[in-house]
């Protein structure tokens, strides 16, 4: 009898939970285990932790990284939230340009941006410093990228798109009714925005805050280019030492473990902050969104948007363009220094670029689809309390992001070269690694999106006799659909940039662009590096814009009613 009343969808939930455990727990557990293993004998030991934390230098690096992460996440709020609000809720002109620039920012590999910023704000010869000296006649320019502030700026430039996309998709769901209620009660635009609109996006902002924080901590490329010459010790640059010969993989694993604790702490804080408030924005009552009329302020807003995107995209792009079309970028800009040879080389003469481009997009697309599907399902399970210990699942889904890719790659390698899954040498090892690695972004996004949907909509289906799966298919799915394209990009783009785990997992026949790019940066070959970067940025932006046009949704300006 019980069987008949049992909602059969429960098996689906259990299956999904099993998939999550397989994808995340399998590699992570192997990593945790190796942190307690003696390097040579494999016996249980705590020595790795002593080696990892027995020196003040190593502890200091970790502290620096945490401070850096917080600073980066804070700057992301300052950059991302106003832009998201301007694009989503106001009549600001030039939205398409701003959005395309943010997309371009997101696609640009951060180490390419970092090299560009060295050229822009290097203390000795940075273009901005030279321009300043030329204008003012001063003996030295004010900018120095090799400082903590410079490091925060560069990392924030390449993380704020998370804040933008998360906040924007939350803003897109909030109907104007609540704002109108505030206006009726006499509140002005500013007050309404600060007290009503933005607080409603708090869960999304916090999710993005966590993502930006975690990414800043786990990043290696930018610190290697800026923190090292700036003499700033960071966790990832310290971690790299453990891979120097003789590699102490177990110590590296031990060194990364406290990050899991930091992630747990952030979650707990997030839960505390948003636990007792309601953030349901999307109810069954439709609701329309109207643009806030900014008047002449819309030009101020546009100026701010262009300022931020200049820092993150337009200025670095000038540097990249100069190098991509230069015979020798060290000679600076001049007509006789122009050439198409770099582009020709990377597109035509180096067949591996084409193969790698294809792999990059296919693997990125596959892992984005997998991660998004799984993340939505898990978020749904957690929110509707479909299985016990749901909160633990949400922690599991977020955990992979905080472990630096180079360490995580060890776990992936161990997980996928021994049963039950032997995938080494196939594309699947990369796809599953990317899926696991970026599951947290998909999860954070899905989580915030689901929080906004009132369960009463599904309850209505169930009261009318429909099962949960029907409710999902006919109600929740369509409601989420609008945000899905954005969520897909959020995983797809980082997956196309992912380097640190790819470098250990690729084999002949499964090369990806990020590895090629890194090679060029490692070889000091800035002309080719810029040429590949340029192709990557322009190609992906075009692909994304065409994709949106193809599905017939002008996601920028037109809004279909929920």
């Amino acid at each position: 009898m019980r069987w008949r009343h049992l909602d059969k969808s429960v098996f689906l939930w259990l299956l999904l939970v099993a998939a999550l455990l397989l994808l995340v727990i399998n590699p992570l557990a192997r990593l945790v285990w190796s942190s307690f293993q003696h390097g040579a004998t494999g016996a249980f030991t705590l020595d790795n932790y002593v080696a990892a934390y027995g020196r003040w230098r190593y502890v200091e690096a970790l502290v620096n990284s945490v401070v850096l992460g917080l600073a980066v996440a804070a700057v992301c709020v300052v950059f991302g939230v106003p832009l998201a609000w301007a694009v989503s809720r106001t009549d600001m002109p030039g939205k398409g340009l701003v959005w395309a620039a943010i997309l371009g920012t997101f696609i640009m590999p951060s180490y390419l941006g970092a090299v560009a910023w060295i050229l822009l704000a290097g203390p000795n010869a940075g273009w901005l410093n030279r321009a300043y000296m030329g204008l003012t006649g001063a003996a030295a320019g004010p900018f120095n990228i090799y400082t903590k502030a410079g490091l925060v700026l560069v990392i924030a430039c390449y993380s704020f798109p998370y804040m933008f996309v998360f906040t924007r998709s939350a803003l897109d769901l909030i109907s104007s009714e609540m704002e109108e209620a505030a206006t009726t009660l006499g509140a002005g635009v500013l007050r309404t925005t600060l007290r009503v609109t933005l607080p409603l996006t708090l869960p999304a902002m916090m999710a993005a805050f966590i993502v930006a924080f975690l990414e800043a901590i786990a990043l290696f490329g930018v610190p290697a280019l800026i923190a090292l010459p700036g003499r700033i010790q960071l966790m990832t640059t310290t971690l790299w030492q453990f891979f120097e010969f003789p590699p102490r993989v177990q110590v590296a694993a031990a060194y990364a473990m406290p990050l899991l604790g930091i992630t747990a702490l952030l979650f707990w804080l997030q839960q505390r902050l948003i636990a007792r408030k309601g953030y349901v924005a999307l109810t069954g009552k439709g609701g329309e969104r109207r643009m806030v009329k900014l008047g002449s302020w819309r030009w101020v807003m546009l100026a701010y948007c262009l300022f931020v995107t200049s820092l993150s995209f337009f200025l670095p792009m000038v540097v990249v363009l100069q190098a991509a079309f230069a015979k020798a970028w060290g000679r600076g800009f001049s007509l006789d220094n122009l050439t198409l040879a770099n582009l020709k080389f990377v597109v035509v003469d180096q067949p591996i670029t084409r193969a790698a481009t294809l792999h990059t997009f296919v693997y990125g697309g596959a892992s984005a689809a997998l991660a998004l599907g799984l993340a939505l399902a898990i978020a749904y399970i957690v929110h509707r309390r479909l299985v016990p210990f749901g909160n633990a699942l949400s922690y599991v889904a977020m955990a992979p992001f905080v472990i630096p890719g180079i360490v995580l790659a060890i776990g992936f390698y161990a997980a996928y070269t021994s049963p039950p899954l032997v995938l080494y040498g196939t594309a699947w090892i990369l796809i599953l690694a990317f899926t696991t690695r970026f599951l947290p972004i998909a999860y954070a996004n899905s989580n915030a999106a689901l929080r906004a949907i009132n369960p009463e909509l599904e309850d209505a289906v169930r009261i009318l006799g429909g099962g949960r799966l029907l409710a999902l298919r006919r109600v929740v799915g369509p409601l989420l659909k609008r945000g899905l394209a954005g969520a897909f990009l959020l995983v797809f783009i980082p997956a196309t940039r992912e380097l640190s785990s790819a470098i250990f997992l690729y084999t002949t026949g499964t090369q990806v662009l990020s590895v090629l790019l890194f090679d060029k940066s490692d070889e000091g070959n800035f002309e080719y590096l810029s040429a590949i970067g340029l192709i990557l940025v322009i190609g992906t932006v075009a692909l994304v814009l065409a994709g949106f046009r193809l599905v017939g949704r002008d996601f920028m300006l037109k809004r279909t009613a929920a």
Partner: protein
């Protein structure tokens, strides 16, 4: 005029003709048998850190042209990543790579000790420049197949040739304050070896004095190329090959072979015991020493290890310049020590 032109033609052509005639003769004894056996294996995988990806690709292509029917797959990474990948393969019991080429000499001691290599006496070793022969393993587990130099590099648009540093101690001159670029021994074996050698030549004081010039510390030795091109730094302790590659494109860079000696980096290659393609691996190791392969390498501005292949204009042959190099033992023991000292002195 005519005579001059035609004699130039002959000066250019004669060596080419000579090469064309000489090439088949460079084949080693037993080449055909080895080739036949290798063909049955169809492909080989080569983990290499010896040069950049373009050179690795060119070397592989050259091999495929010389020995049709055998596919050459390269996985080009930095030395530590190459070792880490190999170690993971071995631990998981996977046989992926057949040939292993690292720039970190200490890897080979460990590989040999762990029994991961198989011996092979390269027939082409007669072609190897004599100065490199001492770096070959007496038990034939590995053989020197690549070389590089750490020397003084500078940006010619800000430093005139006559003002450029001539020896390593010139980098300590206060006139270079804030304008010296170096790499980090924790990230680069080239830099590590350079630091060990400087300590050997001038004591650790050298680096204490260098710190007064506040050098820009990058990660790999190739980062100095970027720093010089950006004019962020004017002089550097840099690599020969990458700097010359960038110079060839027209970037304003130049090399100084230091009077007190360029640091010679010798990088061996070994065949793995569990090589899936042992015969192709042996053939490949022969090829790495061959004239064809070294001609490809000098075109990419890598140093030649073959006696009869001379570098292109702008570079000098290793045989003609003063080089210095710590011994294997000094490198093995010295690198971990100098990493610590380096961190103490430079705070990073």
């Amino acid at each position: 005029m005519d005579i001059a032109r035609s004699s130039i033609k002959w000066i250019v052509l004669t060596p080419l003709l000579f090469l064309a005639c000489a090439a088949p003769a460079s084949a080693f004894e037993g080449e055909q048998t080895l080739y036949e056996a290798a063909k049955k294996e169809k492909e080989l995988t080569w983990y290499t850190a010896h040069y950049g990806s373009e050179t690795a690709a060119a070397v592989c292509n050259g091999f495929e042209k010389k020995y049709p029917g055998i596919k050459c797959n390269y996985i080009r990474t930095t030395a530590q990543v190459a070792y880490q990948r190999l170690a993971q393969d071995q631990k998981a019991g996977l046989a992926v790579a057949s040939v292993f080429s690292s720039t970190d000499a200490s890897h080979y001691g460990r590989l040999k000790q762990d029994g991961w290599l198989q011996p092979y006496r390269t027939k082409n070793v007669a072609e190897l420049i004599d100065a490199f022969k001492p770096y070959n393993d007496p038990d034939d587990m590995f053989v020197a197949t690549a070389a590089g130099l750490v020397l003084i590099t500078y940006n010619t648009s800000v430093v005139a040739a006559k003002d450029a540093p001539k020896k390593w101690t010139d980098l300590l001159d206060p006139k270079w304050k804030d304008h010296v670029s170096i790499g980090h021994p924790s990230f680069s074996g080239y830099v590590g070896t350079w630091v060990v050698q400087m300590r050997k030549s001038y004591g650790w004081d050298y680096f204490k004095k260098l710190e007064l010039n506040k050098p820009r510390i990058g990660r790999s030795i190739n980062d100095t190329v970027t720093m010089l091109n950006a004019k962020e730094s004017w002089v550097a302790a840099g690599p020969s090959a990458t700097t010359l590659q960038s110079k060839d494109k027209g970037n304003p860079l130049a090399l100084v072979y230091p009077e007190d000696g360029a640091i010679l980096m010798v990088s061996p290659t070994g065949i793995l015991k569990n090589a899936p393609a042992p015969n192709a691996a042996k053939l490949f190791e022969e090829y790495l020493l061959s004239r064809e392969c070294n001609e490809i390498m000098v075109k990419q501005r890598e140093e030649s290890v073959n006696k009869s292949v001379k570098p292109l204009p702008g570079a000098r042959s290793i045989a003609e310049i003063k080089t210095i190099r710590p011994t294997y033992e000094e490198i093995d023991k010295g690198i971990p020590e100098v990493k610590e000292l380096f961190r103490d002195t430079f705070g990073i």
